[in-house]
Symmetry: D2
Subunit: 155 residues, 4 copies
Amino acid sequence: MKANYINDFEQWKQEFTYSAQVQVRFSETDMFGHVNNTVPITYFEFARIEYMKRLGLMQQWLKGDGDLFPVVADMQVDYTQQVYFDEVLDVYVKAASLGRSSVDLHYWVVNDKGETCFTGRGAMVQISKATGKGHPWTPEEKELFENKQLISSEN
Amino acid sequence: MKANYINDFEQWKQEFTYSAQVQVRFSETDMFGHVNNTVPITYFEFARIEYMKRLGLMQQWLKGDGDLFPVVADMQVDYTQQVYFDEVLDVYVKAASLGRSSVDLHYWVVNDKGETCFTGRGAMVQISKATGKGHPWTPEEKELFENKQLISSEN
Amino acid sequence: MKANYINDFEQWKQEFTYSAQVQVRFSETDMFGHVNNTVPITYFEFARIEYMKRLGLMQQWLKGDGDLFPVVADMQVDYTQQVYFDEVLDVYVKAASLGRSSVDLHYWVVNDKGETCFTGRGAMVQISKATGKGHPWTPEEKELFENKQLISSEN
Amino acid sequence: MKANYINDFEQWKQEFTYSAQVQVRFSETDMFGHVNNTVPITYFEFARIEYMKRLGLMQQWLKGDGDLFPVVADMQVDYTQQVYFDEVLDVYVKAASLGRSSVDLHYWVVNDKGETCFTGRGAMVQISKATGKGHPWTPEEKELFENKQLISSEN
């Protein structure tokens, strides 16, 4: 049952310090009565971008005249438990490992009973429009990803 | 029951000559078992753009360096009949009336039994990036919208 | 420019007492850089259901063995102003008029500068599964819809 | 770059015999100009269900009084190449391996130039409502998944 990107589940969970909250919309359910399998990836995107805003990277990528932008290289979603209309979910995000111009982000989604609903991971690469290739993180950016104390949740 | 943009329903239906086809996706249903009310507007968008491609306008609006682009000013959707997973629908589109830089498009969505599922309408305006205002249709473009013979469906 | 369901815009705005908040997701933008026209109707649904939860009607409709459920009869959306990624919007909802088994709901969407972004309306009908027809509101339910003091926003 | 579920890419591609077609909708793009990363998983769902309809399993799962239904256990998406508005994509699906009550499905998405745009995989489990547990495939169903000649594309 355990996803291939999780070694020790208890330790893995403790390494998260940042989360964003979502509330399941009616339009996100399907005729089987639960949240459709295509929806959690939109929660991951929402939480990832909130996290990147907290780091200050998103603002930089959204500048109209900027050279750098992020690309999602891959995504994994594990559906641990069915989720229903109106549930409020905490979507935790952490930088699990850093590459030269990429970051491997992990996701842990918990309902209000503390139950794990979804887990996931995915690599993101910072691309330069000029070169069409990965653009390396600065030392300051690496520090940001690694210093989890800087990125705790407000809520 | 009749929508305020339809005078004579039989005549209104006969004026459509163009349609695009959609198939209801599982992810478009909701926990009430039918197509969610937020979905038909995505079918309208799909059919509207296919129609605009047929007219040759969409290609022009999508040019990277072009000055003109379309904006949806308003939309109405009337849900005449519940629609379910896997139904195949013909989404008819027509230009019901033309303004200086706008067009009022009507929509008629029919299932494979010939039953009306949704009707709708919405105004679209051609905007100039340079002026920020509506940009008038050329006489050739008006002719395109009005000559329904030119815009029959292929399928 | 004024939508056909608004007589006096200042008065119309003052009659709203309930709102729910949404934050524009990245996946809700399109290649024209703004919120796609198919998205505001999902904000309306979210706010409508929050409002129906506040009234206590949604809980009743969601009971597994219940006879009654709501159906959206029509929807109108007016796109007053372009909306962009990450904006926080207040989606106001009110019951503008009541039928025997239906209600006409109006929507007013405001950004954090107090600017109107979208307005809208749509009728909703309470249907009985047993009869397949509209099921009349009780006097208590009518009172709920009409007594706006009962339905002010918490946030 | 190679996904962990692909050993020999050339051989992996040759094992697909079934595909369903999708056309990228405007509302599926985002402000970076390409298809948003949350969208390919909806293409996978569409193609998976078309494939399950071809096998005859979907019809069985959708029976109102049936005991069995499918649950997606996990999903992986690899974004090999950016995809843009209006592209027509062939979404190939195959059963890569069979468990007692589960199946590991692989996905390969190709544009009209024959370029790989996305690859993916995900396990699906057939659940019994009565027991809440996985319900084993019959020998006939196993045969269906394994006999690729039976499941070639029509289009």
